[in-house]
């Protein structure tokens, strides 16, 4: 482990920005948002809590041209690769989930894989929990453990530094003059701070009564025909906000159009709450009623995903709680699934 002082961390970002387009979090009225970083910009907020937006748009674009005419070529990427700074543990889990979908060794999506490969992830500890945070219920601690290149823990006005990949180690090694050996006091300060944030997050979970979701696999089967789906779906307006804002939702629509007289195929984010999501050409629709589609969302995340992908499709980030105009609260649904009937 290494230590980097605040001033040196800015210098590190400045040097990294020679190779990468750097995005870093800044606090605003809505919470924390990623912004393009440059050395003359206002200071960033490394700690705090997760960003308002999930990371997925960097790797899996909301709308992407995936085929032109009949060419097998994949259009080359333009611009510098990106470095995303201040990524929190829940979003690292979201990225791991997307990796399972789009970057499995035998079945890589070329559009995702190449961006994932070249992106540098600098993670950071949460130093606060939002009201809607419930990562602990998913077995995720509010500090980075894996899926990062470099991880920073804000302590004493600087950062404790861990590396999690060859790419991360190379960067730390090649700028070694910016780092020092941490002393014991800094290390124990980090542990205290992590324990405090964890306690804070745990108390919010307790307040809401969110159950541990680490063994949710029988919940859906047990409640498949339950009235709870109809009740929970009542305020749903099928806007798809929960899907859009979710770090693990990855469903997409392929749609074609003519562009300059040629076939252009786009991949866009889709929503399983939309009525026609599963509809077939003859008009048959396995999920023709809204509550069935809400159930499907939970089934995919808490039954299919752990069984087939080996990871629950929820990171406890709480974004869908904040985004839903009908105030459907995933924590409440999970509570009902764990206790109801």
């Amino acid at each position: 482990m290494q230590y980097i002082a605040e001033g040196n961390s800015v210098e590190l970002l400045r040097r990294i920005s020679g190779t990468y387009e750097v995005y870093a979090p800044r606090k605003n009225a809505r919470g924390y948002s990623l912004e393009r970083w440059n050395s003359s910009a206002a200071p960033i907020t490394m700690g705090g809590a997760r960003m308002s937006e999930p990371l997925k748009a960097f790797f899996f674009q909301p709308r992407q041209l995936v085929a032109e005419n009949f060419s097998p070529n994949i259009p080359p990427l333009s611009g510098k690769p990106r470095c995303i700074v201040g990524v929190k543990a829940c979003d690292l889990a979201g990225l791991e989930f997307l990796d399972r979908v789009f970057n499995a060794p035998e079945d890589r999506d070329p559009f995702y894989a190449r961006v994932r490969e070249q992106t540098l992830i600098i993670a950071a500890d949460c130093t606060a929990a939002l009201d809607t945070c419930f990562c602990l219920a998913l077995g995720i601690d509010p500090f980075p453990k894996k899926n990062f290149d470099i991880a920073l823990s804000p302590v004493n006005g600087g950062y404790l530094v861990e590396t999690g990949s060859e790419k991360g180690r190379d960067i730390v090694t090649s700028h070694s003059n910016l780092f020092t050996e941490p002393d014991e006091a800094v290390l124990s300060k980090r542990e205290e701070q992590r324990a405090r944030v964890k306690r804070d997050a745990a108390s919010r979970i307790d307040e809401c009564g969110v159950p541990s979701v680490t063994s949710s696999e029988q919940w859906i089967a047990r409640h498949y025909e339950s009235e709870l789906w109809k009740e929970e779906a009542k305020p749903c307006v099928e806007c798809g906000a929960c899907n859009t804002i979710c770090p693990t939702c990855h469903c997409f629509l392929l749609y074609d159009q003519m562009q300059g007289g040629q076939l252009a195929r786009y991949r866009t984010w889709d929503s399983c709450l939309y009525k026609d999501f599963a509809r077939v050409a003859g008009g048959g629709n396995p999920r023709h009623v809204l509550w069935m589609r809400l159930r499907n969302r939970f089934e995919k995340k808490f039954d299919y995903a752990p069984k087939v992908l080996g990871q629950t499709g929820c990171t406890g980030c709480g974004r869908c709680v904040a985004a839903c105009p009908g105030k459907i609260d995933i924590r409440n649904v999970l509570k009902r699934l764990a206790t109801h009937g």
Partner: protein
């Protein structure tokens, strides 16, 4: 899937021939610029440039690599445009995707194929494969039905099948006409008294969901084992890669893990027939 680098790009394909089959079904004979090799059970995605893609199971012989046929019922936006295609037009193909009928496990068994309406299209490709290997099977039965004689797909060809010594064939229609000589009634009405040992046999069902539902129910009553009934599931297959999410059926994606499933592996997933 052919490794063409980009899994979303269709292979440029020429329409060689458009064959009207019934008032609502046309068969296209297609020649892709690069050969597409499929086995019965797998499907392809057919692109009408600028309009969209839709999944179809080829109805032609699997051994013909440089051409394939798909039979398309006019039911929606893409199929409407497909019906307007003419020889010389350009379309696109992706695939093949999905699983095959496990023909090797059928060896030495009595096989019943049950088809309904447009389900005859994928089954024709399967029948070609079964005919090629018919000596390896103990018995081969085909039971098919459609709404009326005018909607009977491949009518001429199936009449020829009726002359084969290696096939026991019965067809029914829901509503007969003055020329129809065969039985009248839905397809389940011709599944009684099958000249086979159902408990040991294999059944393959393909057709509209409601037909599949009742045919499966009937087959179970007749004693077919749940893992010996193979269903061709119609879901909203789109990407073909098990990623876009549209065709999920319980723990499976139809496009990748199916579309052919033994009944035993999907019966526990909510309402599979809708």
């Amino acid at each position: 899937m052919a490794d063409n680098g980009n899994p979303y790009r269709p292979i440029k394909t020429s329409v060689l021939e458009v064959i009207p089959e019934t008032p609502t079904i046309k068969t296209l004979r297609l020649k892709p610029d690069e050969p597409i090799s499929f086995v019965p059970g797998q499907f392809i995605e057919l692109t009408v440039p600028g309009v969209g893609e839709a999944p179809f199971t080829p109805s032609s012989h699997y051994s013909v690599k440089d051409e394939l046929k798909v039979s398309v019922m006019r039911v929606g936006k893409v199929t409407e445009k497909i019906h307007a295609l003419e020889p010389g037009d350009t379309v696109g193909l992706r695939g093949p995707f999905g699983s095959a009928y496990p023909l090797d496990t059928f060896v030495g068994k009595e096989i019943l194929v049950v088809g309904g309406g447009c389900g005859f299209a994928p089954l024709r490709s399967l029948m070609y494969a079964l005919f090629d290997r018919s000596a390896e099977f103990k018995k081969l039965l085909f039971r098919g039905g459609c709404r009326n004689p005018g909607e009977l797909l491949y009518r001429g060809e199936i009449a020829e099948w009726g002359k084969r010594s290696d096939l026991d064939l019965v067809l029914t229609v829901d509503n007969g006409d003055s020329e129809w000589q065969g039985p009248v009634g839905v397809v389940t009405t011709i599944l009684d008294n099958l000249p086979m040992n159902c408990r040991e046999g294999v059944a393959i069902v393909c057709g509209p969901p409601v037909m599949m539902k009742f045919a499966t129910k009937k087959l179970l009553e007749l004693g077919f084992a749940e893992d010996h009934i193979f269903l061709s599931m119609e879901k909203n297959m789109s990407c073909g890669l098990g990623k876009c999410g549209h065709c999920r059926l319980g723990e499976y994606y139809c496009c990748k893990d199916g579309p052919v499933f033994p009944y035993s592996s999907i019966k526990g997933f909510g309402n599979i027939w809708e």
